[in-house]
């Protein structure tokens, strides 16, 4: 059973449902505690231990049915069809199987395991053999329907269908002494069983393909969103993207929260308390805990919201908003040609409202032509003072400057004072420096420069920032 669960978990994983080792162990512990039970119970047990997001429940259920139900169900269907082909009902069929077993015992023939499972209708054992063969044939790698034949063939070979067919032929000959009527019926049964096994292999291969198909479909959907450039998104994708960025922000928040736990509630500090309470005659009015003083990071974000990055700036701003939510000391600016601070606004308003306001033209003229140089100079004049050796300055923009003066010296000055300067550019790296892009001039004055065209790159940037 453990093997099956391991395999199932890897199927989940290839469908984007990641589980951690501790969850896998929980699943094993739970299944062994609960006993096998029926399929529903197994499903409920695995789901409770392995699926932690409501959104994943549907995928899990589907995969569970495919994996744990699929083959067994398919085998049952094959058997039903086989009875119809033999034109017998369940009772007759069982009688036939039983009498064959009896005769074989009397004749004392030595059959291979596979032949025995097949002729004695031992579905459980057959399923096990099929699965083993599937594993050996790497059936899990099947990707396209034209490969069905090839994989089916190699599963059949591993099972040894050729040898089995010969074995069954010989067996039929040995039945020659029986009453002709019975002999004929048994011969038919034997032929049919061989046919059944072939059919089971075919069904199994088809099932596997369905699983992979689903894997592919799902993966493609996700991957395409992650890889898709912020510039070209449909309305639906914009919606999904917003969710994804929100999730990203939440993840960031969780990581930071856990990290911060390391500075725990300090111990009660008697001396400091008494010192603080001298004015109250030594009566401890105000309690003092000793706390490690943390080097609080400061972040200043400068976000380009010009026309050329219109689509991108919403996500960028959403991201900036979450950053601000996360770190107490974030100051956020937006710029096109003017530059304006939106920190206060981001603090006061809900995200949608805040974004709408930033992009409505109330803070700065957003219909102006981009002028990074001018915006930087203004920043230099008004805010350079605020930059110090604990400040991380993040610039989000495409550096397309309409052939205005770049004034890269501003960045040089900022870099001298700041802890680090990070530039995230939503344009393809290949286009940097061409046309009116001043990226080449700005780059030397940054500590980190990243292309940030899609969700995947944004994820990567965030990972670097929090780790």
């Amino acid at each position: 059973m453990d093997d099956k669960i391991v395999e199932f978990i890897s199927l989940l994983r290839s469908n984007g449902l990641r589980t951690s080792l501790s969850e896998d162990l929980d699943a094993f512990a739970a299944v062994s505690r609960m006993g096998l039970g029926d399929r529903t119970q197994l499903r409920d047990t695995l789901r409770a231990t392995l699926v932690k997001s409501t959104l994943d429940i549907a995928t899990f259920d589907e995969l569970f049915d495919l994996y744990f139900g699929g083959l067994a169900d398919a085998m049952k269907q094959v058997e039903t069809a086989s009875r119809q082909a033999l034109q017998v009902d369940d009772g007759d069929y069982q009688d036939l199987i039983d009498s064959l077993a009896e005769i074989l015992e009397q004749m004392d023939v030595d059959l291979s395991d596979l032949a025995q499972h097949l002729l004695q209708d031992d579905t459980g054992q057959l399923e096990r053999r099929l699965r083993e063969a599937a594993r050996e044939a790497d059936l899990g790698n099947i990707e396209r329907s034209f490969q069905e034949g090839r994989y089916g063939h190699s599963v059949a070979q591993i099972l040894g269908i050729g040898g089995l067919a010969q074995e069954l032929e010989r067996l039929k000959e040995q039945l020659g002494d029986l009453d002709p009527d019975l002999q004929e019926r048994l011969a038919k049964l034997i032929d049919q069983r061989l046919q059944d096994l072939t059919n089971m292999i075919k069904r199994m291969v088809r099932l596997e393909l369905q699983k992979r198909d689903q894997t592919l479909r799902e993966n493609q959907r996700e991957r395409s969103l992650e890889d898709k450039s912020f510039y070209y998104l449909s309305e639906e994708e914009v919606r999904q993207m917003k969710e994804a960025v929100a999730k990203l922000a939440q993840r960031l928040k969780n990581v930071v929260a856990i990290r911060r736990r390391k500075g725990k509630r300090g111990k009660f500090d008697v001396k400091a308390t008494l010192r603080r309470n001298l004015q109250y005659g030594g009566v401890p009015f105000r309690i003092q805990f000793d706390r490690r003083i943390k080097d609080r990071p400061q972040v200043m974000v400068l976000c380009d919201v010009s026309d050329s990055v219109r689509n991108v700036s919403r996500f960028m701003l959403q991201f900036v908003y979450s950053l601000q939510d996360l770190y107490a000391r974030v100051r956020s600016f937006i710029f096109v040609s003017d530059i304006g601070e939106v920190t206060q606004m981001f603090e006061e308003f809900e995200i949608q409202e805040a974004l709408d306001q930033s992009l409505s033209g109330g803070v700065i003229n957003i219909y102006a032509h981009s002028d990074f140089g001018r915006a930087f100079r203004t920043f230099h004049r008004d805010h350079l003072e605020a930059v110090n050796k604990r400040t991380t300055v993040i610039v989000l923009g495409d550096a397309r400057n309409n052939y205005n003066a770049a004034h890269e010296w501003v960045l040089r000055d900022v870099k001298l004072r700041a802890k680090q300067v990070i530039w995230l550019n939503p344009e393809n790296r290949l286009t940097w420096g061409f046309g009116d892009s001043e990226m080449d001039r700005y780059m030397p004055h940054c500590d980190i420069v990243e292309e940030c065209r899609n969700l995947k790159q944004l994820y990567a940037v965030v990972d670097r920032m929090v780790h």
């Binding site: 609960m34 119970q41 231990t49 008697v270 010192r275 401890p284």
Partner: protein, 323 residues
């Protein structure tokens, strides 16, 4: 403890909670593996009740921590009773004077007091909050951490520590370790995503709005006086209304409220006028009320058309319309 999944179902039924195998499996697993359960789902589907009923079914104490924005360690774990400490210092002023005695310097005096601080940071002045209560309880308990999604991520991270080893350290007193690992139920209305770390630690249970059959069962159980026909109609209407795109989808609590109110009014079955008059019991927003009525009207019109098509004109089809 529960002896099996069926045992959970039976014990819950005895405590008037309708529970399917899926829910029972998770509860049973949680008690067997000593893992917390994270219950997610819309408001009013019985998440909180699940914890309460678990406590009742096992005869355990229920310890509840209601989460809210800004909830912090002090409110969840323990606080020092400053007022009481203050009072004691006042009363013991002379004694304190003795301890300080003729200390030559202020620093010396402070040191002497510091030697005595154990007295003031002892159990006597400790105010245990739910988490500490659960950890220090002499009896096995059920710990309900309700609406965890309302607390901040920082609090969640703190909770994670407590849940990972069920020990709590009070710097002034030392480390307390739970004598009985409580059964922990965390609920969330999905206001925000929980951290992966917390999810990893928990078993997961999603409770959705109930099917019509289950909801009917719950109504009959919780409003025993309700007439059969009324119960069926109420459930049918609520189920229908849940299809509409509403700001607040009515939940089991609303269904129960409605059935109770109608039963109090001694109503035997619903008609259009009654629905119009009392729909506000289950729909709290003006816009929702309008949408709900539209949804029902459309539904009724469709029913009527169907009834007209299948039965001879003049038949009274209105009786069955709400089904």
């Amino acid at each position: 403890m529960f002896t099996s999944i069926d045992d959970v179902i039976e014990k819950f039924a005895a405590e008037r909670y309708i529970c399917d195998r899926r829910i029972a499996t998770v509860v049973y697993l949680a008690s067997e593996l000593q893992k917390p359960i994270l219950v997610e789902g819309p408001a009013g589907v019985g998440k909180t009740e699940l914890a309460k009923v678990t406590a009742r079914a096992l005869g355990h104490d229920l310890i509840r921590l209601q989460c809210y924005e800004g909830l912090d360690e002090a409110k969840a774990l323990y606080e020092w009773e400053y007022a009481k400490q203050l009072l004691y210092t006042q009363i013991l002023k002379d004694k304190i004077g003795e301890v300080i005695g003729a200390a030559p310097t202020l620093a010396e005096a402070v040191d002497r007091i510091a030697n005595e601080d154990d007295v003031f940071f002892s159990d006597r002045f400790l105010l245990p909050r739910p988490l500490l209560q659960a950890v220090s309880s002499a009896e096995p308990s059920v710990l309900l951490i309700d609406e965890i999604d309302k607390a901040d991520s920082e609090f969640e991270a703190f909770l994670l520590e407590v849940l990972s080893d069920f020990q709590v350290s009070v710097p002034e007193l030392g480390t307390l370790r739970a004598r009985h690992v409580p059964i922990v139920v965390l609920t969330s209305n999905n206001a925000r995503e929980m951290s992966d770390a917390l999810k990893r630690r928990c078993l997961h249970l999603y409770i959705d709005f109930p099917t019509a059959d289950r909801e009917l069962e719950i109504v009959r159980l919780k409003v025993p006086d309700v007439r059969d026909e009324l119960a069926e109609q109420v459930v049918a209407v609520v189920q229908k209304i849940r299809d509409a795109d509403l700001k607040k989808t009515p939940s089991i609590s609303e269904t129960l409220d409605w059935a109770k109110a109608l039963t109090l009014l001694n109503v035997g079955h619903l008609d259009d006028a009654l629905v119009d008059e009392t729909l506000s019991t289950i729909l709290k927003y003006e816009g929702d009320l309008r949408k709900g009525q539209e949804e029902l009207r459309a539904h009724l019109a469709k029913r009527k058309a169907e009834a007209a098509a299948t039965s001879s004109p003049g038949d009274d089809a209105s009786k069955d319309m709400l089904h």
